[in-house]
């Protein structure tokens, strides 16, 4: 047994539940008398809904297939060899479940080395090798093809990426080293760093070809046939593949610098993966592949044993899996159909909701408001947005006509809501106003209609309390911008029944939102945590820490924006309002900052001015601030803020606001954009020891979003 085989056998024993990919070898004659060819098909035996992955046994299977093909090449019975995938899927990379199980640095190293040892054989097989990217290719799937002599890609390929950095890894089976040597460092940085950190952006087949990753592109209808005909021509010397010269001078350095700039702007140095990848790309400039592969092995092993990757995989699973099966949602068979939607209010938020319901549900949507002008403005907004979609080619004229025909506005709620199944209010955030609105709606709406509120902090139970049928009231809390942030907090009031809740979850699914069930607790999940977080920062500023120190203290987390920039986005007035609400509920933990109140009172929309291009403290705001004389260090600020967050989450879980810490993290990722490398936040609090310090225990068991014990 070769050392590679031994290495992989050891790894396979650590991962008994691997979904194993088989590497089938099939032989046939190429057209034009080009000779006998061996084609390896990667196939895990399932259809395209379970994409092909590489675990250790899968790599061992590929290794065995390559043994056979290599022997045939040596014997002269084949003139070339290829590799492709099952229908619609090429291969989507390493099996993350196997990565999660790894406990020891040397085992992690073995996975990296095992992959390299198998894949790199394709670059020195004795005959030319060809990768045919027929369908989705990601991570190790992309990399196995990079080791081949030539590549073709299907123009129908929907997704191609190196998502490792997005998860917290580096493309470590040759990606960091081979790709820049193939297409140049700048393009490699685009694929490995920029796309990955841009929400894991996928390339299409045409882009794969234009970037120079593939040497030829063919249409999906007869992709493999045309690829093999092309192969025959290449092998006969009728087609000579020419690739652009790679800039190994300043261009390479500039590309790496650009990559670092992108990484800084996205993760602010808080997650190591992008930087490790860039180090390898930088070193690959000399074209020494084996040195690069060794560096990839080390980086992979280090990152696999680090908390950021474990958090990244945990976060990935939350948004891919838990988001699709909301914890605590009632059986979906209880849900009632929703064939018409009412929206109370025609302001901006209400109009955005109307547009969302319209586009996703494609049922009549009726807006109401207190005067015709507001109604007209709301409907006009929706029409305008439909026209924008039409202009961008996102919808066609027929669809635009249909959507416009479905939206209407009326003054009379009785006229608008008499046959509505789902009515959502987005009126002024004041309990008495909302209660009055719901009472009016109940008087005219069908008995079965769901009454939903988009309140961000008011009690859903109290809002329902004066109704004849409080069981049909649910909280339906969206996040701004509604069209972009996936989170929807679905709030169960004290009297909400299962059918209403099931209907709400059914609607959420059709809206393509990530629904999380929360108890009717003050400010629910995201706003409560963000307010506590912001409140603690505000406290240290009020007590005397300079604004700059307070902001810098949070930078190591790598949040998408600094706390005060976030406050500006939310609006200081709304921030103040939520803090007042929470202060009433929990006066011992939530404060109302007099400085924030002063800023709001002065009508300022934020703390910063951007005259120099960078955020600088607005001198007018600075003049308003009344600070104490307690100046904390960055570390002290960070400890205080994180302790507060850990305490609040601990209390929320004790109160049963959500089912598990996982739901808190899912909310923070999808509602506040908190990063994967923090895993939301609880994995970070666990690994930094904050949970233990504050609550005396971890949020997540060892092995969940962390290296198993």
């Amino acid at each position: 047994m070769s050392t590679t085989a031994e290495l992989l056998k050891g790894a396979a024993e650590l991962f008994p539940d691997e979904v194993v990919t088989t590497a089938h070898v099939r032989h046939f004659d190429l057209p034009f008398g080009a000779g006998r060819f061996a084609l390896i098909t990667l196939d895990n035996g399932f259809d395209h809904t379970k994409p092909t992955t590489f675990g250790p046994q899968s790599l061992a299977n590929l290794n065995t297939a390559i043994d056979q093909v290599e022997k045939e090449a040596a014997e002269g019975t084949i003139v070339g060899a290829g590799i492709t995938g099952k229908p619609f899927i090429f291969a989507v990379g390493a099996d993350l479940k196997g990565v999660e199980l790894l406990k020891r640095h040397e085992d992690a190293l073995a996975i990296g080395k095992g992959g390299h040892d198998v894949f790199k054989r394709l670059s020195s097989l004795g005959v030319p090798t060809f990768a045919y990217y027929n369908g989705a290719a990601m991570g190790g799937g992309v990399e196995v093809g990079l080791h081949c002599t030539y590549r073709t890609v299907s123009s129908a390929l929907p997704a191609f990426s190196l998502p490792e950095v997005f998860l917290g890894l580096v493309p470590g089976w040759g990606g960091c080293t081979v790709l820049p040597n193939l297409i140049g460092a700048d393009r490699a940085v685009t694929v490995i760093i920029e796309n990955s950190l841009n929400q894991n952006k996928q390339l299409k087949g045409k882009q794969v070809y234009e970037l120079g990753i593939a040497d030829a592109i063919f249409e999906g209808a007869d992709f493999l046939e045309q690829s093999l005909l092309w192969t025959a021509s290449v092998l006969k010397g009728e087609i000579v593949v020419e690739r652009a010269e790679v800039d190994r001078g300043e261009g390479w350095d500039a590309a790496v610098a650009r990559g670092r700039f992108i990484a800084d702007s996205k993760v602010h140095g808080a997650a190591p993966a992008a930087y490790r990848a860039l180090d390898i790309i930088e070193a690959a400039k000399d074209g020494d592949l084996q040195k690069g592969f060794d560096a990839e092995d080390t980086a992979l092993a280090d990152l696999i044993m680090g908390g950021e990757l474990r958090s990244g995989i945990y976060a990935f699973n939350l948004v891919q899996k838990r988001a699709k099966r909301p914890a605590g949602a009632p059986d979906k068979s209880l849900a009632r159909p929703v064939t018409k939607v009412g929206v109370v209010g025609a302001g901006l938020m209400a109009s955005q909701l109307a547009l969302l319901f319209l586009r996703r549900l494609e049922v009549p949507v009726v807006l109401t408001d207190i005067d015709q002008e507001r109604v007209d403005k709301g409907v006009g907004y929706v029409h305008g947005e439909i026209d924008k979609l039409l202009g961008k080619g996102r919808i066609n004229q027929d669809k635009a006509n249909r959507l416009k025909g479905l939206v209407s506005g009326v003054l009379d709620k009785a006229e608008g809501f008499a046959d509505a199944d789902f009515i959502i209010e987005a009126v002024f955030e004041e309990m008495s106003v909302k209660q009055k609105v719901f009472a009016e709606v109940e008087a005219v709406a069908p008995a079965h209609a769901i009454l939903a509120t988009n309140t961000s902090s008011l009690s859903v139970s109290e809002m329902a309390s004066k109704l004849q049928h409080p069981e049909r009231v649910v909280g339906f809390h969206f996040f701004n911008p509604v069209a972009i942030l996936p989170l929807l907090e679905i709030v169960r009031g004290e009297q909400t029944d299962d059918a209403s809740l099931a209907t709400a979850f059914g609607v959420a699914k059709k809206l393509k939102k990530t629904a999380v069930l929360t108890k009717d607790a003050p400010a629910f999940v995201v706003n409560r945590i963000l307010t506590r977080f912001m409140g603690e920062i505000q406290n240290v500023i009020d007590e005397g820490t300079p604004v700059e120190t307070a902001e810098k203290a949070i930078e190591p987390l790598g949040l998408p924006m600094s706390p005060l920039v976030l406050l500006e986005l939310v609006g200081p007035a709304i921030g103040l309002h939520v803090s007042e609400t929470l202060n009433r509920a929990f006066p011992d933990r939530f404060t109302v900052s007099p400085n924030l109140a002063a800023v709001v009172k002065a009508g300022k929309r934020g703390f910063y001015v951007y005259d120099s291009g960078k955020p600088e403290l607005d001198p007018e705001v600075a003049a308003l601030l009344k600070q104490g004389d307690t100046v904390l260090t960055e570390q002290q600020v960070r400890d205080r803020v994180l302790d507060a967050v850990a305490q609040e989450i601990g209390l929320m879980l004790d109160e049963g606001v959500v089912a598990e810490a996982q739901d808190i993290d899912l909310c923070l990722i999808t509602g506040a954009g908190w990063p994967f490398h923090l895993g939301g936040i609880t994995p970070y609090l666990d690994r930094e020891g904050v949970s233990e310090r504050v609550n005396g225990k971890r949020f997540l068991a060892q092995g969940v979003a962390s290296v198993p014990a």
């Binding site: 099939r26 004659d29 229908p87 046939e225 093999l228 005909l229």
Partner: protein, 404 residues
């Protein structure tokens, strides 16, 4: 409005290699619609002078029009092949003569002036759609003795034809079959067949059928080069005890697709498209369903009469070899020797296979190659027998004919 009948030409034809139907066949895991799509795309690649937007129709034949051969396959195949949405399509059925009828139907429309250029072809995946799948013959056929029960089983109709012509013995049929295999092997060796085949990628997941994974099919699977009289002598006669028809002297059960471009001659010349054959006449005829193999004879009589030609004018024959006996009955009728060099020069369906509704265009594609090679020949014909007692014949003129 005054009209002029226009000349109709066969521009080009291609086909997939033919496969053996069944779980071990090369196309067992390949869809029928994909087969015809690949043929259409190859045709377009070979004829860049034809702007796809100028195609007026896609006529695709299939006998069993359900599943992947249903849903108006002429339309769906056009969309799947990437033709513009503006190009319409339809399905057509005359069992074995499906593709031939697709060609004659669109040819009539071209002559009339309704179309300029058309794609016509056929497909039959007899593995996915065995003969007789989903049929529901009216009980009156039997109760009123409209046809004999044997009429529904093509092998039995072939045995019936042996009864009608006792001088066509099993020995003659087997000798004919051996020659068909020999001629096909020779045509392959000379590269006559491959030039009009489109390679097809095929997936296999069943290890009992051979190596698994993706493969590429570049040759006909049913061929049995080296077939001898001895090897045929002891084959079973599945349609009748002590009968004459065997798997060796008949076409098998096969999968495959064909496609051709049919156009008005003016359009072809204006667009720089090849003119491989010129349509002279065509005819269909009905015969007793129990001896459907007789069909080509009256069909050919009619087609010759319409063209004002006699059988002596025809110097190349492409006869579909559903059964050797049916070819021999035709040859006997016209006094042509069993081994006449003008007949099926590249071999026939006994060697290549006969995926029912696709075969007509295979005959044309092969005749077109022979025309090109033999400019001394002016006229040729393609003919085939059809289930339920029919025959179909198309007479073609060689545009390469050197005259006199």
């Amino acid at each position: 409005m005054p009209r002029t009948v226009r000349d109709v030409v066969f521009v080009d034809g291609v086909r997939t290699p033919f496969g053996k139907a069944g779980p071990k066949g090369i196309y067992h895991e390949t869809r029928a619609d994909d087969l015809v799509v690949k043929a259409i795309r190859e045709l377009l690649r070979r004829n860049p002078g034809l702007d796809p937007a100028q195609i007026d129709e896609v006529a695709i034949a299939a006998t069993t029009q359900i599943g992947d051969q249903g849903l108006t396959i002429g339309r769906t195949a056009g969309i799947l092949a990437g033709l513009p949405q503006s190009v319409p399509g339809y399905s057509i059925d005359r069992m074995c003569a499906g593709a031939l009828t697709a060609v004659t139907s669109v040819a009539g429309s071209i002559a009339f002036g309704a179309y300029d250029a058309v794609i016509a072809g056929g497909v039959e995946h007899m593995g996915r759609h065995p003969m007789g799948e989903g049929v529901d013959p009216n009980p009156r056929f039997v109760s009123e003795k409209l046809v004999d029960e044997s009429a529904l089983f093509m092998g039995m109709t072939a045995e019936n034809l042996h009864d009608r012509y006792p001088h066509i013995t099993k020995q003659r049929a087997d000798e004919y079959a051996v020659r068909s295999q020999e001629k096909a092997a020779k045509a392959y060796a000379n590269g006559k067949i491959q030039a009009d085949l489109v390679p097809v990628s095929v997936r296999r997941t069943n290890p009992e059928a051979g190596e698994t994974g993706w493969g590429l099919v570049t040759a006909d699977e049913p061929m049995r080069p080296g077939t001898t009289l001895e090897s045929l002598a002891n084959l079973k006669t599945p349609f009748r005890v002590h009968g004459n028809v065997t798997a060796g002297n008949a076409a098998g059960l096969n999968d495959g697709a064909t496609a051709s471009i049919i156009a008005s001659e003016d359009f072809a010349r204006e667009n720089g498209l090849p003119v491989k054959m010129r349509l002279v006449s065509y005819a269909f005829a009905g015969v007793e369903p129990e001896v459907m193999g007789y069909g080509p004879i009256p069909a050919t009589e009619k087609a010759l009469a319409k063209a004002g030609l006699s059988i002596e004018d025809i110097n190349l024959f492409e006869i579909n070899e559903a059964f050797a006996v049916q070819v021999l009955a035709f040859l006997d009728h016209y006094g042509i020797a069993d081994d006449d060099a003008r007949v099926n020069q590249y071999g026939g369906a006994i060697a290549f296979g006969h995926p029912l509704a696709s075969s007509g265009v295979r005959l044309m594609t092969q005749l077109a190659r022979q025309f090109e090679e033999q400019p001394e020949v002016r006229y040729g014909l393609t003919t085939m027998c059809v289930g339920f007692g029919m025959g179909a014949t198309v007479i073609w003129e060689n545009p390469h004919w050197e005259g006199k």
